[in-house]
């Protein structure tokens, strides 16, 4: 059973539906107690980092996520949910994240040549890094996934499992032990995305 964290940020319709189409049971929960006891956790998110981090804290969800991650529960952050796993973000000010993966979230504009459009929106190819990540068990390098983001996670090399080239190598996926993150939207990445979610379900 997958538990999708509901903290009032973003649309959970497609995420729920994609697990449904995989025949996996998924529930949505905003209760920190349920997150603490979940088998597997998805941390979604769309919007601004500061607001989202504040909402997590205001319902005590940050502590539940940290405790769940500490005891080894597989946790997958998606898009802003991935960025929230990091130490801090410089999106409109400076905001603390969960600190589960070392690194900071910065504007894409800082690292790509001017003239490239922001947000980085559309389908881009995955390039794998480091040891094979179990999330990509059924994905070939070069397959495309769907991105929509204006900020990127400047992560330390050992934690980066995939990048996408957009004027610079942008972090596409990260892993630290049982904590995983995808900058792209697997629930919007067609068959490739469903294979990634399936791999997470079967960990």
């Amino acid at each position: 059973m997958i538990t999708i964290v509901d903290y009032g940020v973003g649309n959970l319709f497609s995420l729920r539906s994609s697990f449904g189409s995989l025949g996996e049971r998924a529930r949505v929960s905003g209760d920190p107690e349920e997150i603490l006891n979940a088998e597997k956790i998805i941390l979604p998110g769309v919007g601004a980092f500061g607001d989202a981090a504040e909402k997590l804290r205001s319902i005590g969800m940050d502590q539940a996520l940290l405790a769940a991650a500490r005891k080894g529960t597989p946790l997958l952050g998606i898009c802003l949910g991935m960025q929230l796993l990091f130490d801090r973000s410089f999106e409109y000010g400076e905001h603390a994240g969960l600190g589960l993966i070392p690194g900071n979230v910065r504007p894409i504009a800082d690292v790509i040549p001017s003239g490239l459009k922001i947000p980085h929106i559309g389908w881009n190819a995955l390039r794998f890094h480091g040891p094979a990540c179990p999330l990509f068990r059924d994905v070939r390098e070069g397959e495309c996934v769907y991105f929509v983001h204006s900020f990127y996670a400047a992560a330390h090399d050992p934690f980066v499992t995939a990048t996408a080239e957009y004027g610079a190598d942008l972090t596409a996926a990260v892993r630290r032990d049982n904590v995983f993150g995808c900058q792209f939207h697997p629930e919007k990445s067609g068959g490739v995305g469903l294979r990634i979610l399936k791999a997470f379900c079967e960990m």
Partner: protein
């Protein structure tokens, strides 16, 4: 590198897909859910659903169909038609839409773009502009291309981007349905004016027209079409093969 997107557009009325030629003479084509699944399985990068229903029953039917589609199709879904308020954004986003396209609603209340962008983010707000030459000047048309607003189009598009539109669909009424190629002159003018993604619409008759589009205007991000896909005149896998053979990066 980011790939060029190919986007089939489904006009939906009373639960069925229709497509007009020059916005008139609609003909029933297929079931929206089945067509959406077919396109998703065959390499479409994104889908656009336009609700062209006027009645309340039709609107309810549309959101049912949207929900059914979004629970079976896992590629980005843009919804337009009858979007006049932030509540309309809410209505379709709850049914599984990822982006919402505004047209006449934004012409009537330009603040809609700003309000929606503030609430849902720029990436969620797509401006769809129906544009036609009037005495050599690009004019924005409202009401499905039937009414000249008198507004100069490039200024209008730029204003909407300033207010938070994250993507622009440029639909040339002059080339729509003619199948003689995209309106490269109009698209070039828009690409020069804005820095957000531009989606070309109106005029595609064959795969070569997409090659010409992306070659002539590298700043165009996507090509949108309807009937040539619905009637099988252009198959998306064949189109992508031709694009790739011509050095254009696509998802395959």
């Amino acid at each position: 590198m980011i790939t060029k997107r190919i986007i089939p557009c489904l006009d939906v009325r009373d639960g069925r897909v229709v497509k007009g030629v020059n916005f008139q003479g609609l003909a029933d084509v297929n079931s929206p859910v089945e067509l959406a699944k077919y396109y998703s399985d065959n390499g479409a990068d994104e889908l656009v659903f336009y609700d062209i229903t006027a009645s309340a029953e039709g609107r309810a039917l549309f959101t049912d169909i949207l929900t059914e589609t979004a629970s079976q199709v896992f590629i980005p879904l843009t919804v337009g038609g009858g979007i006049n308020t932030v509540d309309d954004f809410d209505r379709v986003l709850k049914c599984g839409a990822d982006k919402v396209s505004v047209n006449s609603g934004a012409i009537r209340h330009p603040d809609l773009v700003r309000e929606a962008a503030r609430k849902y983010g720029d990436q969620c707000v797509v401006l769809s502009a129906d544009v036609k030459r009037v005495d050599g000047v690009f004019h924005v048309f409202a009401k499905g291309g039937r009414e000249d607003t008198g507004m100069e189009a490039i200024g209008w598009i730029r204003r909407c981007v300033d207010m938070g539109a994250g993507e622009i669909v440029v639909n040339s009424i002059d080339t729509d349905g003619v199948k003689n190629g995209f309106d490269l002159e109009m698209l070039a003018a828009v690409c020069d004016a804005v820095s957000v993604p531009v989606i070309a619409s109106g005029g595609a008759g064959n795969a070569r027209h997409f090659v010409d589009l992306f070659r002539a205007l590298p700043k165009v991000d996507a090509g949108l079409a309807a009937s040539i896909f619905h009637f099988g005149e252009v198959r998306i896998p064949d189109l992508k093969k031709e694009l790739a053979e011509n050095g254009i990066i696509v998802r395959r």
